[in-house]
């Protein structure tokens, strides 16, 4: 059973979003954001939300 084309497009959009979150230019973030531990790191939580959405569309899309 393959993934529908619509779901695939959405997953790719979320992958692009994940790339923005992970590789966003450090100069766009306030200095404190770069040194925070993982549980206070906004990039970690944002990545987690994006991954959850990729799973949702992979399973139910």
């Amino acid at each position: 059973m393959g993934i529908d084309p619509g779901a695939l497009v959405v997953i790719l959009l979320y992958a692009a979003c994940l790339a923005v979150i992970l590789f966003v230019s450090p100069k766009l973030l306030a200095p404190t954001a770069a040194t925070a531990p993982w549980w206070r790191n906004v990039r970690f939580w944002a990545s987690l939300v994006a991954v959850v959405q990729m799973v949702v569309y992979a399973v139910w899309g």
Partner: protein, 494 residues
Amino acid sequence: MKLSALDLGLIVFYLLTVTGLGLWASRGIRTSRDYFLAGKSIPWWAAGMSLVVSDIGAKDMIGLAGDGYRYGIVMMNFDFVGCILPVLVAAFLFMPFFWGSNVTTIPEYLGRRYNTSVRTFFAVVWSLFMLATVATILVSAAAMFEGLLGWSFWVSVGVTSVLVGIYTAFGGLRAVVVTEVFSCVVLIAGATLICVLGIREVGGVSTLVAKVSELSWTREHFELLPSSSHPAYPWPAVVLGLGIVLGPAYWIGNQAIVQRTLGASSEDDARASYVFCAAIKLVFPVLLVVPGLIALALFAEELGPPGPGWDANQVLPLMVKRLVPPGALGILMGAFIAGVMTNLESYINSASTLLVTDLYRPFVRPRASDEECLALGRWLVVGLLIGGALFSYQVKTRFASVFEAFQTFLSFFQGALFALLLFGMLTRRATAEGGVAGMLVGVATAAVLSATGQLYLWTAFWSFVAASLTLVVVSLMTTRKSDEELRGLVCWIR
């Protein structure tokens, strides 16, 4: 429907708590910055919860239950694709520029990036849109109150307007956010309650799926992304119209949304508030769409198949009337009132901010004192409520679905707005002339497509394409601003 003493007690408790919180938060409002941006003091968690209920309110509870009945789980994409995706991108790519440019409104940013014409156009359009939204929310409120309590349309609209006006006029953004945090909790509790009661009545999730699938018109109700031949939400339109244009334009360019992050206590808090909002939105759309499916399983014979003239707004009130026992009804009514009040106060506060910041100060009285602007902001809250109430009857009589009305309003100018924000923030080459031309062509394209009966998702997408192409072509033929003029406004020049 008769409310029990416990239900009435819960509703009164909710109303008194919200009004008390709103008035408590109104203390210490001395400047227009306190009023419009809460003195830049909102913590991330409060701004995040406030973002959620600024977007999801009565119109969504009523509208998404009705559209969930009509179209199924595809409606969850309005949050999954149309919110979470743009919110995450906005948090890391766009928000730093709104924050860094120290603006109060989105049109103010557009004015500094392009010119006064663009600023004025979007300030006027947003103000009109917000007035229409206020009217739409009041129609949602009236639908619920008519269905549950038997109140007339005008009594429902009047009571709702007065309740919200009391503290929004005094407290500004701080009162709005404080009450929204409380309301967010009540709203989630209420939405969860109706889902739990409904699924229990149906006999479980698997029975729900089986019963809905038995019906002849529900072939794609459990498709998150339906086929490209779907009459209302074909997946290409969902992905391109909603995911690429309407969602980003709404979450990056909507004053009612961005104002919360501009009022956050730091740039980090502003970013965290967006991410917190996205996390809550992983669950919220499920709670709003599932009631429509429950109604299909339980009341399909009574409500009938959706067709011309079918009223989507009757679904949720019928469910509440049939499923919710005395006592629990008070919680649900509290949630619904929370949805109405938070949505209303958000849009009224933001419209007032726009009118004062982008129209009154620049054009009517450039030397207006801060006290004058503060007083005007408060009076505008009252005026906007009255205007929205008068306009609400038009919305009620002309649109079958409240949610569709809301999205149709958005699609007219969201494509052009997003094109201007995208090119304005990501490239220094976009010029003022390009911005004006893109804006006009984008809105004209949307108007033509809408008049020819195109789906609003396609209307938004093609107006974005037209605005983008025009902006690029005209910008290449005209002179751009210097790097110094663009500092803090464009991604690569901070």
